[in-house]
């Protein structure tokens, strides 16, 4: 139970820290927690099971649109929307995984299918007027716990932290059960895994379903935080690449490397944005690109790998 205790301690520490942050600090806290949750979700399929997705925005967007549309059109509570979003994300992940992995598509083909699915969904949603088409959906601000809206940023800090905690618990549970070994075996060598009697297709489908469900969970929280969603912001390729980027920079396949990547990169982005004050749009993405290329060249195991190497050397 040691990892669970450690996780509990870290979460408690973060929760205790949040009230003392400035408004701006709390904003970054929310962003880090939400992006961190997406990166952790991505890493279950992309890192732990080794299937690189370029379309995880599909799940985030589906979750955000489902809960927002249910709330706006039918008055369904976002809390129920949150549960339904996770179910939808899981179902989409399983469906996508089943159709793709049964046909033995992997590597770049899998990346292209996921990319195309997310882009196609973006264009479909952009044409559905009931979903606000390309203009998106605005959520009226009615702060109350029942509406999953809070009067202060602190409330959102805790909501985002809760989602992050769920993702972290799921990852620890996977790691400590047979499923973790199944994913590892599939990632390292599919043929050997199959020879050991592991159902490779089933394992990947499970990874996709869990990954999709967790990513979808972020959607409703994000939507209720910014109170506005449009196809480009939640289905766009930028979000999918962010998830991949944080994971690779943090350390692909390590349990919490993606979170480390998010903790480093998201505040860096905000800092750059603040410094440039709207001038030179896109400069933070240039920095992302450079960091990504450098990490691939100098530290293919990411920041997590560098960190654990440093600790190992200190001990030796």
């Amino acid at each position: 139970m040691k990892p669970m205790l450690l996780l509990g301690a870290v979460i408690a520490l973060l929760a205790a820290l949040a009230p003392f942050l400035s408004i701006y600090g709390q904003h970054i806290f929310v962003l880090v927690a939400l992006y961190g949750a997406v990166a952790l979700a991505w890493n279950i399929l992309g890192g732990m099971a080794g299937q690189m997705s370029l379309g995880h925005a599909l799940f985030v967007g589906a979750g955000a649109y489902l809960s927002t549309a249910l709330y706006l059109k039918l008055g369904v509570s976002p809390w129920i929307g949150l549960v339904l979003a996770a179910c939808l994300g899981g179902a989409l992940g399983a469906l996508m995984g089943y159709t793709v992995f049964r046909r033995k598509l992997s590597g770049v083909y899998f990346a292209l299918v996921t990319l195309a699915l997310a882009e196609m969904t973006l264009h479909i949603v952009s044409n559905v007027s009931a979903l606000g088409a390309a203009n998106g959906l605005a959520i009226p601000a009615r702060p109350s716990l029942a509406n999953l809206q809070f009067t202060s940023k602190l409330g959102y800090c805790y909501a985002a932290l809760a989602v992050l905690t769920v993702a972290a618990i799921v990852i620890i549970v996977i790691h400590r059960t047979r499923l973790g070994y199944v994913f590892l075996a599939i990632r390292e060598n599919e043929r050997s895994a199959a020879a050991l009697g592991i159902d490779v297709v089933q394992g990947k489908v499970i990874a996709a379903a869990i990954s999709g469900a967790l990513a979808a969970l972020v959607g409703p929280i994000y939507a209720n935080y910014v109170l506005f969603i449009d196809p480009e912001s939640v289905f766009g390729i930028t979000l999918s690449i962010d998830a991949l980027l944080f994971s690779f920079v943090g350390g692909l396949g390590s349990l919490f490397g993606p979170l480390l990547g998010t903790v480093v990169l998201v505040p860096l982005t905000e800092l750059l944005r603040g410094m440039l004050a709207g001038r030179l749009a896109g400069i933070h993405l240039i920095v992302y690109g450079v960091i990504l290329v450098l990490v691939m060249r100098l530290a293919p195991r990411g920041l997590w790998g560098l960190l654990s190497d440093a600790i190992a050397r200190r001990r030796a």
């Binding site: 046909r103 990319l115 195309a116 882009e119 993405l285 240039i286 990504l292 290329v293 691939m296």
Partner: protein
């Protein structure tokens, strides 16, 4: 309802020859962009997610030539082609060569990173504004029956097809092409037979990406440039390449025309971004049910 549909069909039908011509012209440009992508994939086994961004780079260089040096896009060809090829050579040495033997994941991530850098560098320098690069030929229209074609588009398509055929001849019938194909088919065997594989990779990458430096000034007179032009072309090129079988030269040519025609006819019938949905649906169905593409197998 039925009557309305018949009416609209009657409205659309006379436009069909024009649409097919537009689709064919568009398809030729897609074909040459896709041929470059399929060449780098076929030889280096690397999927270049930054491919289209080099086209955008070429377009911006053409734009610079037009605004600073007052060069007609066609004249700026003598600058743009060598510059894009040079950037390709540096890209190969700095980024591609080090990961040539790395896992596929890492290669994809490196080209994605390159795409982020190129796209956003262009955004930072040129902003997101659309720019046009008119040429002396921009206004000229060729009329064939009821079909009107821009002279510039005709030139671009003809040149694209010519370059595709020229590259095919280069690969098939020259000693250089034979060595490139050897490096593509079996890296180790080629090395043992004395082929300088690294050099062949460099040349293949420079041809594949450099050809975009040729296309850019040719399509400049009837296109706009913005930083996102590149990613649109990258996606289309991927669709074309998968359709025509990854690494297959002739397939990319055929796939280019198919997607060009699908986009033009789809645009005529539906209009707007529903068009993209059709293209993506074709792409996904192909990836799922026929990932080896129309022609199957890898032939270079």
């Amino acid at each position: 309802m039925r009557a309305w549909r018949d009416d609209s069909l009657m409205d659309v039908l006379p436009l069909l020859p024009q649409t097919l011509a537009d689709g064919f012209l568009l398809g030729a440009v897609y074909a040459i962009v896709a041929v470059g992508l399929t060449l780098t994939f076929g030889v280096l086994r690397i999927v270049n997610f930054a491919h289209g961004d080099f086209l955008a780079l070429g377009l911006y260089l053409t734009y610079i030539g037009a605004t600073w040096l007052h060069l007609d896009p066609y004249l700026s060809l003598v600058l743009v082609l060598p510059l894009v090829t040079l950037v390709a050579a540096f890209t190969y040495r700095l980024l591609i060569a080090p990961v040539i033997l790395a896992p596929e994941h890492n290669q994809i991530v490196v080209t994605l990173g390159l795409s982020l850098i190129l796209q956003n560098a262009m955004l930072a320098i040129f902003t997101a504004d659309l720019h046009a690069m008119p040429s002396v030929l921009s206004g000229h229209i060729v009329r064939i029956g009821n079909v009107f074609i821009q002279a510039a588009a005709l030139i671009a398509s003809a040149a694209s097809i010519a370059v595709c055929l020229g590259l095919y001849w280069l690969l098939r019938s020259t000693e250089l092409g034979r060595q490139i194909r050897a490096a593509a088919q079996d890296r180790d065997a080629a090395l043992m037979s004395g082929v300088n594989v690294d050099r062949m990779y460099l040349i293949a990458f420079c041809i594949g990406v450099g050809s975009l430096g040729l296309v850019a000034p040719l399509i400049a007179p009837f296109n706009y440039v913005s930083p996102s032009v590149g990613s649109n072309f990258t996606l289309t090129a991927f669709i074309v390449v998968v359709l025509g079988s990854m690494g297959n030269f002739v397939g990319a040519l055929i796939g280019g025309f198919i997607i060009g025609l699908v986009e033009a006819v789809g645009g005529l019938l539906t209009g707007g971004s529903i068009n993209f949905i059709i293209t993506y649906a074709i792409f996904i169905l192909f990836l799922l049910f026929r990932p080896e593409g129309l022609l199957g197998g890898r032939r270079l």
